[in-house]
């Protein structure tokens, strides 16, 4: 049973560029959440997708956008990159419904903005 997968593993961009990160959820899951983990900090919630719609959003600017596809996979897009966007980006999948459902995380994409 494949777990959550993310691509690419590492990415280096320069300020002002745009980036797309990808996530495939765990088999049987229908919900994808994205988190940003800066160095030395806990993950911060960016947004959650279910049924191809953004269901909830954290305190992140509109430069951060996403998409969910019919097969439940998801993309995170970040425009006009800033140095402060350098972080580990984590994707988590789960079943929609009760908040008791566990979120399972992928290995992350390490984004470096120069």
């Amino acid at each position: 049973d494949a777990g959550v997968t993310q691509s690419p593993t590492h990415l280096i961009k320069t300020r002002g560029q745009q980036v797309t990160l990808r996530c495939s959820p765990k088999s049987g899951h229908d919900t994808v959440s994205w988190y940003q983990q800066a160095l030395g900090q806990g993950p911060q919630f960016i947004f959650q997708y279910y049924e191809e719609e953004e269901r909830q959003r954290g305190n992140f600017p509109d430069r951060f956008s996403g998409h969910q596809f019919p097969n439940y996979s998801s993309e995170l897009n970040v425009n006009a990159l800033l140095l402060g966007d350098s972080a580990l980006y984590l994707c988590a999948s789960s079943l929609y419904g009760t908040s008791a459902n566990t979120q399972y995380f992928g290995p992350g994409t390490r984004l470096t903005v120069l």
């Binding site: 959550v4 993310q6 959440s33 988190y35 030395g40 900090q41 806990g42 993950p43 911060q44 919630f45 959650q48 269901r55 909830q56 954290g58 984590l90 988590a92 908040s99 008791a100 566990t102 979120q103 399972y104 995380f105 992928g106 290995p107 992350g108 390490r110």
Partner: protein, 115 residues
């Protein structure tokens, strides 16, 4: 809004000794509580969760956690630490009611088990 505090940035324990990683939370109403572990350059791995019922929750790799509603705490414990338990541990909370569906994490505790 919910929040999590992990008061210790670093915990050191000798192999074979019991370990405790502390977590306190703040949430409106009742909480769902989670512990995750992160190894270097890896994602988060789920250890255990508290939903309801027995205050002592058992999870993966011999870890357990005790929910204490009056102290709003959810400390992670293990009777006998292994060197391989050395990693970064995160506590997270989510309210049982309301629209907040995201996990709110603490800042993490680095556990080092000394041989």
């Amino acid at each position: 809004a919910q929040s999590v505090a992990q008061p210790e940035d670093q915990v050191n324990v000798a192999e074979g000794n019991p370990l405790t990683v502390k977590c306190t939370y703040s949430v409106s109403g009742n909480p769902y509580l989670f512990w995750y572990v992160q190894y270097p350059n890896r994602g988060l791995q789920f250890l255990l969760k508290y939903i309801t019922g027995d205050n002592l929750v058992k999870g993966s790799y011999g870890f357990e956690a005790e929910f204490n509603k009056s102290q709003t705490s959810f400390h992670l414990k293990k009777p006998s630490a292994l060197v391989s338990d050395s990693a970064l541990y995160f506590c997270a909370v989510r309210p049982t009611f309301g629209s907040a569906r995201q996990l709110t994490f603490g800042s993490g505790t680095q556990l080092t088990v000394l041989p």
